[in-house]
């Protein structure tokens, strides 16, 4: 691991100024991803700015009924928060489906959103990787790519974003609040992560040095009727091979509204807008759910080893929606 200096800023302004002044600085939150990648030599910061002492660790109920979740709230505290459990159970479900009890006690809201891909070539400094070292090539494109993307990838990078929480936040129209040297800004979580395109090394639309201070979740009463389905290689403590976050609002048989997002299929959490469009205003059936998934997955371009992800996501979509609708899956 490369040597680094360590600082605990007194406030948000000092944290942002420190990152601005030092090109090789990084924010440190729970450290469960960053420290891991520093051990592997994948990330080599020279200054760590520890944000866990900043007063960003509360979950606030906003006047209009929405929520503001502080950037440093631990994943376990968020999942167990009584308001989250009651009003936004999708967040609890997604969080509890990820990592382990010990890791969730450390991991934070912002750290979870900004965790790096689990692409094994990215984690191995002996392999070519355009994300880690732009211009070196992508070892995964023609390597072992079973776990990687089916949607939105480019020839330069086929990695996926591994967060479960991010999938739920994208489904719930959440917004990130951030500070950078230019001031405060807001970005919908759906626009936070980029597709790789020509620049897989640019993972988010945040300016360099931006500090996430909170994530805002707007009120969505029907979000109580939700589910998070995660397919993985063992029953617990494994990253998703594919996941579906869903919330459904039925008026009789008719789909009044719906939220649908997919995880582990792209470089960003994938909001399934096309599928949602195909569902809204129509009488709900399992067939309609399958057609909606097909509409979304028409754009899928599976890699040599992950063709199974297309039917996997289709089936998870049908199971999630039929369960929520209370109709039997086919």
């Amino acid at each position: 691991m490369k040597a680094f200096r360590y600082h605990r800023p007194a406030d948000v302004a000092e944290a942002v100024a420190l990152l601005d002044a030092e090109p090789a600085a990084a924010y440190l939150a729970g450290g469960t991803n960053l420290v891991d990648l520093m051990k592997l030599g994948v990330q080599r910061p020279e200054l760590l700015v520890d944000v866990t002492g900043l007063p960003l660790d509360t979950v606030e109920v906003l006047p209009g009924g929405g929520l503001r979740i502080g950037a440093t709230v631990r994943n376990s505290d968020l999942a167990a928060d009584p308001v989250i459990r009651r009003e936004h159970p999708l967040l609890s479900r997604a969080l509890l489906a990820g990592a382990s009890g010990q890791l969730r006690n450390l991991a934070t809201t912002a750290g979870n959103l900004l965790q790096r891909t689990r692409c094994v070539y990215f984690q191995d400094t002996g392999k070519a990787c355009n994300k880690r070292e732009p211009g070196t090539g992508c070892a995964a494109r023609h390597g072992q790519n079973r776990d990687l993307a089916i949607l939105g990838w480019s020839e330069l990078c086929v990695a996926t974003h591994p967060s479960d929480l991010a999938v739920a936040l994208v489904a719930l129209d959440a917004v990130v609040e951030a500070h950078d040297p230019g001031g405060a800004r807001e970005i919908p979580v759906a626009e936070l992560h980029r597709t790789p395109g020509e620049h897989p090394e640019r993972e988010t639309s945040l300016p360099r040095g931006a500090l996430i201070t909170a994530v805002r979740v707007p009120p969505l009463p029907f979000a109580r009727r939700c589910t998070y389905l995660k397919a993985r290689d063992r029953a617990s403590f494994a990253f998703a091979v594919g996941s579906v976050a869903a919330a459904l609002d039925l008026d009789g048989d008719t789909v009044r509204d719906v939220r649908l997002a997919y995880g582990a299929v792209a470089h960003r959490p994938w909001r399934a807008y096309r599928a949602e469009e195909a569902l809204r205003g129509r009488p709900f059936t399992a067939e309609l759910a399958a057609q909606a998934a097909d509409a979304e997955l028409a754009a899928a371009r599976p890699l040599p080893h992950n063709g199974f992800k297309v039917p996997l996501i289709r089936n998870l979509t049908v199971r999630a929606l039929t369960t929520l609708a209370g109709t039997a899956p086919r």
């Binding site: 360590y6 002492g53 459990r85 009890g101 890791l103 617990s236």
Partner: protein, 180 residues
């Protein structure tokens, strides 16, 4: 704000005050030192094990201010003023804690390598249950938790056991929970 570790003159090391198993320590450490390495290499507390060093096995689990965490992914420099309990600090003053005794009674280990992490994790997990925290297999997120086998397995999934003593670990933890 919490205390902050005091950097050495060159900035690459820091002096940290830590309470471990009730004893205060003042350590000057390279900033790269993990809590696990500080415990094992500087304090000679070798109960916590280094199975993977990447957060994947749970054998390094300790309690940090009462909460279970993986000590291999925590930098010691971040912990100034904090309190750590390791497996060496789990016993009661008079002997084994009920949880430890239940592991012995149920033969909840074979080689024992994962056991310190299993014990610290179980201690932290039972406190989480007492606080009413749900898990991925909890049906109703707002109802009180009932600690079934499935709940124990899910909540302990961050602790691997290569000897596969899992059934006995589950039984030991359920016993200890019932005795609480």
């Amino acid at each position: 704000m919490r205390e902050s570790a005091k950097p050495t003159e060159d900035g690459w090391s820091s002096t940290v005050t830590l309470t471990v198993n009730g004893t205060g320590h003042n350590l000057t450490l390279d900033n790269r030192t993990t809590l696990l390495d500080a415990l094992r290499e500087r304090l000679a507390l070798t109960g916590s094990k280094k199975g993977c060093d990447h957060g994947q096995c749970g054998s390094c689990t300790v309690l940090l201010d009462g909460r279970r965490v993986k000590s291999c992914l925590i930098l010691a420099v971040t912990l100034d003023g904090r309190t750590v309990v390791t497996v060496e600090g789990l016993a009661d003053p008079t002997g084994l804690s009920p949880l430890q005794a239940a592991f012995v009674a149920h033969d909840a280990f074979q080689c024992g390598y994962c056991t310190p992490g299993q014990l610290c994790s179980a201690r932290g997990m039972l406190d989480e249950v007492a606080r009413g925290w749900p898990s991925a297999v909890t049906g109703d997120l707002t109802a009180p938790v009932e600690l079934t086998d499935a709940e124990v397995r899910e909540r302990m999934s961050g602790n691997l056991c290569r000897c596969a003593a899992y059934p006995n670990i589950v039984a030991a933890i359920r016993d200890a929970a019932a005795a609480r």
